[in-house]
Assembly symmetry: C2
Homo-oligomer: 248 residues x 2
Amino acid sequence: MIQNIQIRELTPRHLRQSCSNCSLRELCLPIGLTPDEMQELDTIITQARPIKRGEALYRAGEPFKSLFAIRVGFFKASVISEDGREQVTGFHMSGELMGMDAISSDFHTCDAIALEDSEVCEMPFGEIEELAGDVPILQRHLYKVMSREIVRDHGVMLLLGNMKAEERLAAFLLNLSQRFAIRGYSSSSFHLRMTREEIGSYLGLKLETVSRTLSKFQDQGFIKVQNRLIEIIDSDSLKKLLNNCHGE
Amino acid sequence: MIQNIQIRELTPRHLRQSCSNCSLRELCLPIGLTPDEMQELDTIITQARPIKRGEALYRAGEPFKSLFAIRVGFFKASVISEDGREQVTGFHMSGELMGMDAISSDFHTCDAIALEDSEVCEMPFGEIEELAGDVPILQRHLYKVMSREIVRDHGVMLLLGNMKAEERLAAFLLNLSQRFAIRGYSSSSFHLRMTREEIGSYLGLKLETVSRTLSKFQDQGFIKVQNRLIEIIDSDSLKKLLNNCHGE
DNA sequence: CGTTAACTTGACGGCCCTCAAGAGAGGTGG
DNA sequence: CCACCTCTCTTGAGGGCCGTCAAGTTAACG
């Protein structure tokens, strides 16, 4: 959750600059590469491939070649079950890495759909891997990024397995708020890129329940909802929903 | 799911033997190490540390030093939310790797509890990592194992987000059945190592619902339940529950 | 301005949770 | 070996949360 906070403070200058080039917040994060190594990384990475809103960055079943770092934009990742049910497994924003699920089988296992016009950096995994063999700190960092994804998924499992609708939505809003804040946007006022249905799919709820719960939060004065614009008025109350809740 | 099937057939002899030593089904899987590299791997890995039923292999918050390969036995992994709710994130059996969630923060993020007397191989991550830097095939394999964990978690998210109690339990039983089969045990008759409550926690259900649903499956002639002994009588019907279900 | 997709709100019903009681299994000590 | 205790499991009854169905409203886009 708090994992990305210190990027600006901790990264050395040459890295910070390169990172601001490619926006690889998640890949470059706290790793002290030499200028040479950075340059090599830069030559590997394809700069800025645009993806229009609604388009797929990749789809389940396609052969795996590259990881993608989101330079700007917003994506959803989702898996489709055999009988056609969609489960959104995550929402991803600038600086985050996508496609790691595909390493295991050399095929993508989920769809990645842009929810707004976006740009990604393509990072051919074979070359990244090769470089990682020579640069221990990069290798370790890749392990860390993948591990973080596992931890994140466990958090979602906790949410889906244990929480009620109100708690899920509160957790969702607070998580979004935090991630926007990290990126320098307002944490108290932001635009949802996804539909109620996509939120519901992510949270294991129906779109009507999402809508109703948002309205309820608004009635209680926790938030203000204007279509997809969310204003968080009382984040403490939202947090209280998460901790108090019906545990003892 | 089917990922471990071909171990015996595909691994070269020297690897097969070394693997049968340490039972590292998941780590050694399909990777063609040289005998020298295998030996180095063997010197890194601590052979056979016993863990008694009910004991913790590690707990959330403990500093991370090693991954663990289960040599024999059965574990549950679970996260505890701030307000004390437990979510079982997975059940792990012989040959599987545990602890990858801890790489991201250098602290374990979940508890690993033995559900029967077990033995694990401890693999100091720093040394594994170092070796992986020299042995690309090992490096890639670590990425694959972690990626597989992510894919598995996505499957659980689909289950928790979209499925009804009957479907969840059917999926759970079929998954266990398959994993036992891969290890040479009966796929149609096996002993549950976990309580109804732990099954419920994993599946996002209460223990009463688990119990009721098992009874229902028994009444329908799909399975036979005798306390923790499960006999699968009609696996096709269970599979049908998963595909038919209330999708169109 | 018309069409479509997205959202809101209400009414109702069903699935699963909650509470409760009792049965069964496994371990310990007498 | 049996009595006893505890943990686990089963089963029932009732209620609540959320899904389902439906209708109407708003927003978005050509």
